[in-house]
């Protein structure tokens, strides 16, 4: 591309006009490369900083100062930021200017073959070579024509002053490649902008649209946050429960959303998930009915799935996600405070919020989600990780009067682990944390009752006093201890149980630290635990007896199993000390209602972008794989034949052309009785 680099001659010292200079700046390579790099860097920023998260999250992450700075720079939504748009617009303008400047010249070059090139210019070309041929100029020229013509060169021959100049050119398509590629960039950017949110931004700027940040049902969203069906391009989401319909989608915008109304109504008849044999989801499918009385004689039925959307009236309807659609759950609420171990039946729906009162405190239960399958990785029999379905679970929050909430995930059925079965409940104090799990052992009937009975007993002062009395009796009885000593021992044992109930082993540890000199702490703690275990065992045996189990008749194996149960139960009670909920919610039954998550888009620019893409592909290949070459051969009479001065240029700076140039001249020389090469030069 020698000519692109060539400086335009300054006209008589006249300062170039501003317009001219601006035009040149816009079409300059420096600007082009700067823009390419700038666009790359800007795009990278948007990937490193997660985009379009709730503002609250950014505030926590960056603090109020940087939050404001980043917000005003538009860093939370880089790809819609004004400055990002400016880069894009500059790229479009610069590329257009570049094409408009280069294309006419290139096309002209493509058409004409210059035959008035002076010897000096020929010798100044990168590749040039002079040699002799053993044939007269006429034959040599004929040979050149033949040689070049059969290799796809276009030719022009001029004779002047007894010299013949053969001009040859090949690869005109290369220039079209340049034009296609660069026009394609403009086309793609314009197409992309057609599908962008510029219209929304404009509406917002002119005060015709306001972002809604409250969590409202679609029907209650005020007019100022709604968009008429006419909007030419949008991309929004909506969750529709099975059996229900909707005629809006939500467009997420910064920290809120606006409601886009649709010109038709979508009814979801059914949503279902197909699974692989290992339980992993294989396909998500929604059976939809589109109601549009204005355009359809009868409703349109269609099942969509991932990778198979429905296109209707310029709207594409995609299977994007799924969610719970308000499943009905039957719960058993076991009290962990107040009347510990007592349970009440409860009916809730997913997304329902239910206030309740317990032990004088107010709480609110917020049911968040229900899941039918939970495929988790667990260690298989041979140590390899295997996937296992843990069955249904539901997720909820319990919020106290101060507004503090903890989140829970409870599985419905007991899960087998290491040969025993447990009801699993996960707890976390904030969304960012991972769940901590409590494993409540299931009894031999697969129920939680034995555990809850034991828990109730441990909280029953009278029962515990009786049990402790009996334990102390057996321990001290033989030695015949005094009554007051018995009283002291019993009292402290009861305290131990209470400490354990309230705060697990930690509470006992703290108590020891407070009251016992440092050097004795470990010993005392161990003694306490041993005592506690004895009491717990007694309490467990009594629980079993109360449930009608004949403990005396148990064989060794059965007894070992019960010991394991007790160990697990104690671990669970220890865990419950940190559970933070006044109730344990056990899922007993459910009716699964799902909602399908649809994404609905209208993108009029898509065809434009695809057209641009085809142009781009075509252009890139033409540009890379068709090289434009120009050759000149000046032939003139010399003694014993003719003398040739060959010169050539190509717009690919590769070695191929240099090699080809050499080969060409060698072949011509060999075929036309060439002599030695007089001089040749290649400048790099």
């Amino acid at each position: 591309m020698a000519s692109t680099r060539a400086e335009r001659p300054r006209q008589g010292g006249n300062p170039r006009s501003l317009r001219r200079r601006l035009f040149e700046f816009l079409g300059s390579m420096t600007l082009a490369i700067t823009l390419l790099v700038a666009l790359g860097v800007a795009s990278a920023i948007g990937t490193i900083l997660q985009q379009n998260q709730p503002y609250q999250d950014y505030l926590i992450k960056f603090g109020p100062f940087w939050f404001e700075v980043f917000k005003s720079l538009g860093l939370f939504d880089v790809y819609s930021a004004g400055w990002f748009l400016v880069i894009l617009v500059f790229l479009i303008v610069s590329t257009s200017v570049c094409v408009s400047r280069n294309a006419p010249r290139m096309l002209k070059e493509n058409r004409q073959l210059k035959t008035d090139v002076a010897e000096k210019s020929l010798r100044a070309m990168k590749l040039n070579q002079a040699y002799r041929l053993g044939v007269e100029p006429g034959i040599a020229t004929q040979g050149l024509r033949r040689y070049l013509g059969s290799r796809g060169y276009r030719l022009a021959v001029a004779e002047r002053d007894g010299e013949t100049l053969v001009a040859a050119r090949k690869g005109a398509l290369n220039r079209w490649g340049y034009i296609f590629t660069h026009v394609a960039i403009v086309v793609i950017c314009v197409g992309g902008m057609l599908d962008s949110r510029m219209l929304l931004k404009l509406k917002e700027l002119t005060g015709n649209l306001a972002v809604e940040t409250r969590d409202l049902p679609a029907a209650e969203v005020p007019e100022i946050s709604r968009i008429e069906p006419g909007n030419p391009s949008f991309r929004g989401n909506v969750n529709i429960p099975e059996g229900q319909r909707a005629s809006v989608v939500f467009l997420g915008l910064r920290d809120g959303y606006v409601v886009q109304e649709l010109p038709f109504t979508i009814e979801v008849e059914d949503f279902h998930v197909e699974h692989y044999d290992n339980g992993q989801p294989k396909q998500f499918k929604s059976r939809l009915v589109v109601h549009d009385p204005d355009r359809l004689d009868e409703p349109l039925e269609k099942t969509i799935s991932v990778n198979h959307p429905l296109i209707y009236e310029g709207h594409a309807i995609y299977q994007a996600s799924f969610a719970d659609g308000g499943s009905k759950l039957d719960l058993k609420a076991w009290q962990l405070e107040g009347d510990v171990g007592h349970s009440d039946a409860l009916e809730v729906e997913v997304f329902e919020q239910m206030p309740f009162k317990l032990g004088g405190e107010r709480y609110r239960l917020e049911v968040g989600d229900f899941r039918l399958f939970n495929i988790n990785k667990v260690e298989g029999p041979d140590g390899e990780p295997v996937e296992r379905n843990f069955g249904p679970s539901f997720q909820f929050k319990i919020r106290d009067a101060a507004g503090q909430a903890r989140e829970y995930q409870n599985y419905m059925s007991p899960v087998e682990m290491d040969g025993a079965r447990y009801f699993i409940s996960g707890m976390r104090a904030s969304v960012g944390q991972s769940f901590r799990y409590v494993h409540i052992p299931a009894d031999d009937k697969g129920s939680m009752e034995t555990f809850m009975d034991l828990l109730a007993r441990l909280h029953d002062r009278e029962a515990m006093a009786r049990i402790i009395e009996r334990t102390v009796g057996t321990a001290l009885g033989a030695a015949g201890g005094a009554d007051d000593r018995r009283g002291v021992v019993s009292g402290s044992m009861l305290r131990l149980v209470e400490l354990f109930n309230e705060g697990g082993y930690d509470a006992i540890g703290r108590d020891v630290e407070e009251r016992v000199p440092a050097e004795k702490q470990e010993k005392v703690f161990e003694a306490y635990i041993r005592v506690l275990q004895t009491v717990l065992l007694e309490a467990y045996v009594e629980t079993l007896q109360a449930r009608g189990v004949d403990v005396a008749a148990m064989d060794e194996a059965a007894w070992a199993e019960h010991q394991r149960f007790l160990e697990d139960a104690v671990a669970a009670i220890n865990g419950l000390a940190f559970y933070g909920s006044p109730v344990f919610l056990q899922l007993t039954d459910f009716e699964h209602i799902q909602a399908t998550g649809l994404q609905i888009t209208k993108s009029p620019g898509k065809g434009v972008v695809y057209f641009g893409s085809v142009l781009l592909t075509l252009g890139v290949f033409l540009m890379f794989y068709i090289s434009q070459r120009r050759l000149w051969f000046r032939v003139r009479e010399a003694e014993g034949g003719s003398e040739v001065l060959a010169a050539g240029t190509a717009n690919r700076r590769t070695m191929d052309f240099a090699r080809e140039f050499e080969r060409m001249n060698r072949e011509l020389g060999t075929a036309l009785g060439g002599g030695d090469s007089k001089e040749s030069s290649r400048q790099e």
Binding site: I33, L39, T47, Q51, I139, D195, Y276, Y610, T617, D656
Partner: protein, 400 residues
Amino acid sequence: MSVTPEAMVEQLDKSSFWSRLGPRDWGWVALVVVAAVATLVGFGEAMNRFDQGILVGTAVGLVALGWYWRPSQVVSVVTAALSLFAIWRYDALLDGAVNVGSRTLAETANGDFFLQFLVSSQSAIMWMSALFVLATVTYIGALLVRSPFAGRVATALTWSGATMGLVGLMVRWRESYLINLDYGHIPVSNLYEVFIVFAVMTALIYLYYEGRYQSRNLGAFVLTVISAAVAFLLWYTFDRGANAIQPLVPALNSYWMKIHVPANFVGYGSFALAAMVGVAYLVKQRLGGDGENDRLPSLALMDDVMYKSIALGFAFFTIATILGAMWAAEAWGGYWSWDPKETWALIVWLNYAAWLHLRLTKGMKGAPMAWWAVIGLFITSFAFLGVNMFLSGLHSYGEL
């Protein structure tokens, strides 16, 4: 000797493209056509239009590739033979049963000498790994002691490694269907599989340039990056068990994947190659540039390879990104979502667009462009690996 001027001129005609094709080229066509027709006759009923189209397209592509680059004929034939052999062993041992599950399949493979030690996908991939590492060592040795013989051995090892990698992929494809018809998919669906594609693709592109420029001395550099990929692959296999064949998540279950991913890896492979040639360039320049007894090819040649390979990569990366956009339009509801993987593909693309502009319009060459090509590999690697490791997005495959 007297030749008439007419005859002299006559012989300057360029022989046409068709007349330059020899018996071997036509034999190749015959072979590919027979194979394609046999497939269509035998399995045409089980194929839909798209499958048949792909089959015909593949046949045309193989013919063109074989004509343009003859050694590819050998690789294709050996790959086909070994893969068919493996498929036949499996079918014979399983009595044609399908949906056998991964455990039974593994037991079957372990119970057969050929499968266990040669052509089950796992063994083939291990062979590939070993051969590439050996090739790397041999190339380095050949470079250091200037042994043409060792160079030829290294080339042979690289060819074998690439072939075994291809066999591994083909057999894995079949294995996925044997485990469960539902699981069946082309093995370009997760990070483990695409690493194999990357190693094979880079090796083949390198071998092409090696033949084209008749120079083996860049092998030490290029194969190093392949060995690095192999090291990752082995870690990924043994530490993470990533080689297990898993069914596809719904979004990946699409025809687009079959063309989008391979096109991407022509791009990644070429960029990696360009970067390693860039390293060779810089090393040579450090050591004083072109001289009498050069070990490495001339700076000009390396510069040329760098340009060609970036151009090739750019062209395919353009196609891959466009195909990706079309796929996204079908799977996610929009051809462009500024998803991190998408965005990084754009960044890679912009980076090389800038490189090509400097090179073509400003005529920049030499060390700065070599450095840039090397940095380009870091950007490319981030797009390829880093995004999966550090950024979350819609792209659902290959979390580490």
